[in-house]
Amino acid sequence: MASSILSRMFRRKAKPKVEQLRDVETIKRRRLNAVIGIAVGLATLPLVALYLLLALSSFADRIVTGPDIIEAEYSTTNWKLLFQGKLEPAAGRLYDLRELIMIIVNTFIVALGVTVAVVLISVMAGYAFSRMKFRGRVGLMEFIILLHAFPGVALIIAVYAIYVWSLGAVPKDVLTEYRFLYTILARASLEIPMSIWLMKGFFDRIPWEVEWSAMVDGASRIRVWRQIVLPQIKPGIAAISIFAFLAGWEDLIYVHVFLYTGGIKTLATFLEEVIGNIETTYLPIAAAAGTLYLIPTIVFFVLTQKLLLEAMSGGVKA
């Protein structure tokens, strides 16, 4: 089943039919193409260079800046030191391998937690908004879209105050779990409005007749949703999952506010701390840590390029 989702997600667009209108061929646009291509290329180059320099620095004995690419010496030392936890003098203290792995695991917990929460909640609510009549449906959807535009981060003071207040009531032995749960739900709630809206769009595309026939046969609403409708929106779920994962993975502010203050580190706050102790930091190891943190993003990015571009523009219709 997983493979079929993947193949559907990653399937290349079908070749255009012959009858579909193509661009004018008799006008020579090679020059225009070249001029624009080179201009955009020149504008894009520095951006690419900065990412490449980061990756290169993670293997070098210094932070490479461009002209010194040849002078620097390359080895895997930085990566070895990183994984041995020998960040001294980088982080002002020693990490051991276990701690480093925990940091990576924590980052995954947050990212996957956000993914699960966002997908589950938006699939359910998206279905209700697409298929069910209830009083205040339009008003509520409008409110949710408003929340999407609304700056959720502006509320973080109150969200944190509620967190502080609630911590007192949480038993000590599940405190860590509670911290993760709150972080995940708080971060997920930023993504929820947009995800519900996108999910509603995916549900809108499924023909009603399928559902009607199942209900005529006597299936309950919830059963229809689970067995008939959900399998048809797998590509939509995949798109939302990727977005939610990347959102959870890249996050800095929420893990800083809700986890770091409780002594739980993720890759983001780990980097924050390493560079924060700048006097003692050996920057190339930080470059290795940064590259490590970047890898899952790049992998997702390359695998789902078109989906990503489509979903990014999917929120807007004119």
Partner: protein
Amino acid sequence: MVEVRLERVSKRFGRVVAVNNVNLQFPDGKFSALLGPSGSGKSTILYLIAGIYKPTLGKILFGDRDVTELPPKDRNVGLVFQNYALYPHMTVYDNIAFPLRLKKIDENAINDKVNNVSKLLRIQDLLERYPHQLSGGQQQRVALARALVKEPEVLLLDEPLSNLDALLRLTIRAEIKRLQQKLEITAIHVTHDQAEAMSMADYIAVIDRGSVQQVGSPWEVYNKPRNLFVATFMGSPPSNVLPGRIVRENGIWIDVGGSMVKPPERMVELLRESELDDVIVAFRPEHASIVKEPEEGYISIPAEVFVTEPLGRESIVTAMVGGSSVKVLMPPEAEFKPGESVYIQIQPDKLMLFDPITELNIEVARPGKS
């Protein structure tokens, strides 16, 4: 105005051959139609003439001028798209003026030309409106006006009527035809609707699978189809097709669904010369009738009535011959019961025979006379 010629033109998109070695001639000042099913390559041919596509092989000539490499604006063609492609943010006036403004023509001259062409198309009162405020037929006229405003030598129409409702289509058909005759412009019209092509065009080129199947007047294409495709594509309902076996005993006979049929005199010699074992027998629904007893002077084939569909002005009777079904147009008062044994009686002069391998009409496409 100008004659348009395609000389051995082929167009490939990647591995797909959209147009295959086409020779065509569109006479000066006449209305020609490119007729074919969707995906046949007829639109591609139009876009090749417009200069949107460049042929992979071959030459395109406007009169003596080789335009193969020229971009559209240097060909002096007017093009009307299927969806009209009117700019939604411009008024009708600005839409029509747009081609002239790109040429940096003086505004007064533009004004005159726009007014002239809108008078011609009877849209003077719509100039201040936006496309979304117009009906389909009005949009169609604006699109025509935009194509005609720069006084092109060739007018290219890509299924311009397919977005209109059936009644409006009839009106606009007549309108376009009137306009073309008045301007004496070379017009090329792409359509999949054979009735449209028949009613509008002076010449029809039937296209299928990227190749020209037949070129001729509407009468020729309808009555003398060069091959089986043309025979079955034209007409509604299309020609009936029955497989036959040639029996060379006591002269020449054709075995159609188990009964022996004597071919008309004019075909006997042709069949004798050919060494065909099988042949495809075809005839149009209006060239046959259904009778209970066979009459002299007709070709009769025993059949069994399957169903009668009354259409008011006439009835279509479907009958079975062997395993094949045959449709015949009958007067509305004709009454047959399903399962009734009857004879299909074909006018001998209207019978068509096709070579089952080459699918060519054995009369029209005799070797050396194609």
